[in-house]
Symmetry: D2
Subunit: 145 residues, 4 copies
């Protein structure tokens, strides 16, 4: 594990352009665990006024991918090989909280899990999604990271 | 099947706020089949200058969900129950094309499939993703649709 | 929920011919939870002397399916709509223990989860699999159940 | 690719003990493609007299895994990292045919796809399952293969 994983991760976040577009913020970084949140606005919705399934998938991909990232040596990165998301309840509320964690690390594959809860107007938290992903360890690409 | 499925679908698209946020456009609507595209910009990227996995998931969720929508009677809608996406190649290019289709319709569940290709600067098309989803048929929610 | 869920489930097990073929036994039945085990023999193996991936899938399908079954009214049954299994470690040992539970019940779909541990010769338990499934509620088919 | 892939695969099949237990036979071996079949008997059934979901998963794991095996160099093998199976129709008939193929080969991961059809008493073929799997390339374990 990279002792500077937090600063390395924060540097990566600066170039997470799609994460910025959707308005998701990482709020907690621990070894093998990431939590983030998003203030729900109309732009996150689909036609029935529920949170968009693609938004859920995006927040989960970010939380799970970076949970693996925290455990990597400095010369390695991860890319998503496979992601599976279940939708338990429609998302409707004021804030979304996504969590991702490493369930089984490996030299080549990381098996991660994740979940999303949505906080409604009355402060009640509803579990909306469960997720799994397989992250593939790669050599750091020759880019800004 | 609703004979007016195209106009019903176009009305739904007007309220696909998240789809507008990410810049994905539906370009082909056939019974049980949807194609759409997106001009790739920096906002779609992650830190290694590849297309974001969440973007891929979002385009696929839209294409597969609306492919089911085309086959529904007017009093029904679909919500995503489960989505699975495989990442074959990193996405890098000028245009993304996503396709979704119904593989097995049903009265309660639609099994859909999808794929994404990315066109690079030289016009070469690369298959980046394969996907499956299960769409759950619901009564039309009491909203604008 | 059916107050007689245990006796109904035991009657169903009598006709689980494939479960008998592979030698898996249900050892614990609780509302929304099933545990079972299997004594590992050569017949359960693949060519590298590991437990066969299909065996793991079979035990998990049984444990998750019957965990949903425990929560059903007497006129309903479940069939598997979708199953996803991750393989964390190769299975090698003397006993396999599979657990399945309902994570999100519903009137039409049950989202279940499961896992397998294998006990090796020295009594050490190794987690080999994590799983998710979607069970679809159906009216009891006109059969012996 | 190993020019002797057919003889290597046939040697592996001799030690596929679980495949023999369930009664599945490989009937076609091509580069990146496997077909096999099974004569349906009572031992393959679950309590509603449908083919057992675990049986379907087992046949698909075998067909997809060996489809990757055909493309490997002689010092490599594959193990299942993840499998996902959708159940389109209940299986009921006299013969099951499973097919598996490599959709995206790689140096470390093979993305495979598969499907099952069941032939009923009148010779009609019904598609019962679609599947995806990720096979992980490993060095040949120090075993009989």
């Amino acid at each position: 594990m990279n002792p500077d994983y937090k600063s390395r991760l924060k540097k990566a976040l600066e170039r997470q352009f799609f994460m910025k577009l959707i308005g998701f913020d990482i709020t907690r970084i621990e070894p093998g665990f990431i939590e983030g949140e998003l203030n729900i606005e109309e732009k996150h919705m689909q036609q029935h006024d529920f949170l968009h399934g693609g938004l859920m998938a995006s927040c989960l991909d970010i939380a799970m991918g970076f949970s693996a990232f925290t455990l990597l040596p400095p010369d390695k990165a991860v890319v998503t090989a496979d992601i599976n998301i279940s939708y338990y309840n429609p998302g409707d509320g004021v804030k979304l909280i996504a969590r991702g964690w490493v369930d089984k690390p490996g030299s080549r594959l990381y098996f991660c899990e994740g979940e999303i809860s949505v906080i409604d107007k009355n402060g009640k938290e509803v579990l909306t999604n469960k997720a799994k992903s397989i992250m593939c360890v790669i050599d750091v690409p020759p880019v800004k990271l």
